[in-house]
C-alpha cells in the first residue's frame, strides 16, 4: 500500500478533478469545487477542469439562472444551447449569456429569427408552454419549465413533422440542513403530421442527498410513453399537459409506495427488525449457548439448521420478552 506513487501528470489530475465535479449531487457543485481546489492545490489544473466540467454539469442538471433585466429565469439545457455560452429562453425570446463556472447569467440579447421557430410551430410551442407553466406552477413549489422546438423549427405549415421538448427542473437546496434534492422531467413530443399523432416520451429523474454524519443518496429514474391526437395548438397543448400531469402524478405515487415499502418489505431482505425468533437475542444465555453447542455435538446434530431449530425451542425458556 505504501508503494512510491509516481507523480500524476496535470492531465491525469484534471481528469480526476472533472470526475469529482461531474459527480456532485444537484446544487452542490460549488461545495465540491471548494474542497477540490484545496485538495488539488493547483489553480491551473482546477481552472481547466472547472471550465470543462461546469458546462456539462449545468446542462445535465438543467440549472435555473436569473436573467438580468426582469426577463425572469432561464434554464440551462442542451435543448436551448446555441453557440458558445449562449442559451435560448423561448418564453421571452431572449438569449442568455452564461458564465458556467460562476453559474450566473451575465447578459441577455434578443434572439434572432433564425434562432426561433416559425409562427406555425411557435403557435404549438407557445400553447404548450402556457399549459405547462400552469401545471408546473400548481404542482411544483419551486419548479421551472421550458418548452423548446428541437426539430422542424422551420416548418411553415401543415404537412411536415416537428418535435417539441418540455423540460421541468426543480431543486431544493438547504445545505444548512445538510440536504439537497432535485427533480427533472424531460418530455419529448413528436408531432407526426402524416398520421396526425402526438407521441410522448418522458424521462423522469429524482435525486436527493443527505449528508450529516453520513452520506445517503437517493436516485430514482422512470421512463414512460404515451400518445394523443394531433389537434389544434390549444387542444394539443391541453391534451399533452394532461398526459404529463397524469404520468408524473402516477410516478410520484409509486415513489411514495417505494418509500412506504422500505421498512417492512424492502429492508427485510437486508436486516430484520427482530430475529426470526421474534425476541431479542439472548446474550445473557450465551453460556447456555455453549452448553447447547456441546449438547448438539453430543447428540450428533452438528448441522446448523437443526442447531437453529433446537435453539428456537429453547428461547421461550430464557424468558426474553417480545418487543413488537
Amino acid at each position: 500500500m505504501a508503494e512510491e506513487e509516481t507523480e500524476l501528470s496535470d492531465k491525469q489530475k484534471k481528469e480526476i478533478a472533472k470526475w469529482f465535479l461531474l459527480n456532485a449531487p444537484a446544487g452542490e457543485i460549488q461545495y465540491v469545487a471548494k474542497d477540490l481546489k484545496f485538495v488539488l492545490n493547483n489553480d491551473d489544473v482546477y481552472d481547466e477542469a472547472a471550465s470543462e466540467a461546469f458546462p456539462v454539469y449545468n446542462k445535465s442538471h438543467m440549472i435555473c439562472l436569473e436573467m438580468p433585466g426582469r426577463f425572469g429565469d432561464v434554464l440551462v439545457t442542451s435543448y436551448g444551447e446555441l453557440q458558445g455560452n449562449e442559451y435560448l429562453d423561448p418564453k421571452t425570446a431572449q438569449v442568455a449569456i452564461v458564465d458556467h463556472v460562476k453559474q450566473v447569467c451575465t447578459e441577455v440579447r434578443p434572439a434572432t429569427d433564425e434562432e426561433l421557430s416559425t409562427p406555425y410551430v411557435e403557435e404549438y410551442r407557445c400553447a404548450l408552454e402556457a399549459e405547462m407553466l400552469k401545471y408546473v406552477g400548481e404542482a411544483y413549489p419551486k419548479g421551472s419549465c421550458s418548452v423548446y422546438c428541437i426539430n422542424g423549427k422551420d416548418v411553415e405549415g401543415p404537412g411536415y413533422d416537428f418535435e417539441l421538448v418540455a423540460v421541468i427542473s426543480a431543486a431544493r437546496l438547504s445545505p444548512q440542513n445538510f440536504c439537497t434534492g432535485s427533480w427533472q422531467s424531460i418530455w419529448n413530443i413528436e408531432c407526426k403530421d402524416d398520421i396526425q399523432v402526438l407521441e410522448l416520451k418522458g424521462k423522469l429523474q429524482v435525486g436527493a442527498h443527505y449528508f450529516e454524519e453520513g452520506n445517503v443518496q437517493l436516485d430514482a429514474k422512470h421512463e414512460c410513453r404515451d400518445s394523443t391526437m394531433f389537434q389544434s395548438p390549444d387542444d394539443s397543448a391541453i391534451a399533452i399537459a394532461s398526459l404529463i400531469r397524469h404520468h408524473e402524478t402516477e410516478y410520484l405515487a409509486s415513489l411514495e409506495a417505494s418509500y412506504l415499502n422500505l421498512p417492512d418489505a424492502t429492508f427485510k431482505d437486508l436486516r430484520r427488525k427482530l430475529p426470526v425468533t421474534r425476541t431479542l437475542f439472548p446474550w445473557h444465555s450465551t453460556s447456555q449457548f455453549n452448553l447447547t453447542r456441546e449438547i448438539s455435538k453430543e447428540l450428533g446434530i452438528g448441522n446448523f439448521e437443526s442447531l437453529q431449530l433446537f435453539f428456537a425451542c429453547l428461547y421461550p425458556l430464557f424468558g426474553v420478552q417480545v418487543v413488537e
Partner: protein, 268 residues
C-alpha cells in the same frame, strides 16, 4: 484532509471506491489517514481450512494477508504475523460462534466475522463485521431487491477490566439497494451512516454479553431510523430529522403529492 473528507461526503456512495482511489492518487501522503477514515464495502475471502468465508478489514490485515477468524491462519500465508493472545483468541472464537447465530437470526444469512486484538491501555478492541447480500440472486428470501447489500462494521474499544468496564462502540452501516419494476422504474438508495455509543457495564455479565447487547441496540437504532423515516411519510409537514427520511422529505417538498389537485383529463 478535511477537504478530502468533504468530497467523500458528497460523492455518490456507490462510487466511494473510485472516489477514494482518486483521492489516494491526489494525496499520496495522506494515504494512511484516508484509508483509516473512509469505509468501503466489505470484501470476503474463503478459508479453505474451515470451508467458511470471512470478512476482510484493516483489523485482520497484516501486509497483504488477512487472518481468518475460523482457522486463525493468514491468507495468503504469512510468517511472523501478529496474533491475539491465547486468552483473547478464546474470546474471539466464542464471539464468532455466537455472532454467527445472531446474524443468522437478524440477517437470515450473510457472513460475519469478529476480530479482537490487545490495545495499548490494558484493554482490548473487538471488531464485529456483517455482510449481507439481500438481492434476488443473493440471499434475499423475498426477492424484492434487484441489488441490495448491507455491510455493518462495529468497533468496540473495551477499557481496562474493572468492576464496571467502559465500552466505546463506533458503528458504520453501509447500505445500497435498488428496486426495479416496469411501473415505477428504478429506485435506488445508497449510503453510509456512522454513530457512536459509550457505556459503562458490569464486567460480571461478561464481555460478550455486554458487547452483543450494545451492538444489537445500535443496529436496532440504525435500522429504526430507516423505518421511522418511512412511517412518517404521510405527514410531510413533520420535520423528518432522520437519516433516510431526509432524502424522502426532499423529494416530496420538491413536488408535493398532488391528491389536492383534481385530475384534469383531456376533453374528448
Amino acid at each position: 484532509m478535511e477537504a478530502a473528507m468533504g468530497l467523500m461526503r458528497r460523492m455518490p456512495p456507490r462510487h466511494s471506491e473510485t472516489a477514494l482511489s482518486a483521492l489516494l492518487s491526489l494525496l499520496p501522503h495522506n494515504s494512511s489517514d484516508l484509508l483509516s477514515q473512509v469505509d468501503l464495502p466489505l470484501q470476503v475471502l474463503s478459508d479453505d481450512d474451515s470451508g467458511k468465508r470471512f470478512i476482510l478489514c484493516e483489523y485482520n490485515r497484516d501486509a497483504d494477508s488477512y487472518r481468518s477468524p475460523w482457522s486463525n491462519k493468514y491468507h495468503p500465508r504469512l510468517e511472523d504475523a501478529p496474533y491475539p493472545s491465547s486468552k483473547l483468541r478464546q474470546l474471539e472464537i466464542e464471539a464468532n460462534d455466537i455472532f454467527t447465530v445472531y446474524c443468522d437470526q437478524y440477517y437470515e444469512g450473510g457472513i460475519s466475522s469478529v476480530y479482537m486484538w490487545e490495545d495499548d491501555n490494558e484493554g482490548f478492541v473487538a471488531c464485529f463485521l456483517v455482510k449481507k447480500d439481500g438481492s434476488k440472486t443473493g440471499q434475499g428470501r423475498r426477492g424484492y431487491l434487484e441489488e441490495g447489500t448491507w455491510d455493518a462494521i462495529h468497533v468496540i474499544e473495551v477499557g481496562p477490566e474493572e468492576e464496571t468496564t467502559r465500552y466505546c462502540l463506533t458503528s458504520t452501516v453501509m447500505l445500497s439497494l435498488t428496486t426495479d419494476d416496469v411501473s415505477s422504474g428504478t429506485f435506488s438508495l445508497s449510503g453510509s451512516i456512522r454513530r457512536q455509543m459509550n457505556m459503562n457495564l458490569p464486567v460480571a455479565d461478561g464481555h460478550l454479553c455486554n458487547m452483543g447487547k450494545m451492538i444489537e441496540e445500535m443496529e436496532g437504532k440504525l435500522r429504526n431510523s430507516l423505518d421511522q423515516a418511512c412511517l412518517l411519510l404521510s405527514s410531510l409537514e413533520l420535520p423528518l430529522h432522520v437519516y433516510f427520511g431526509k432524502t424522502r422529505e426532499m423529494v416530496c417538498t420538491l413536488r408535493p403529492p398532488s391528491e389536492v389537485l383534481p385530475m384534469r383529463l383531456p376533453d374528448s
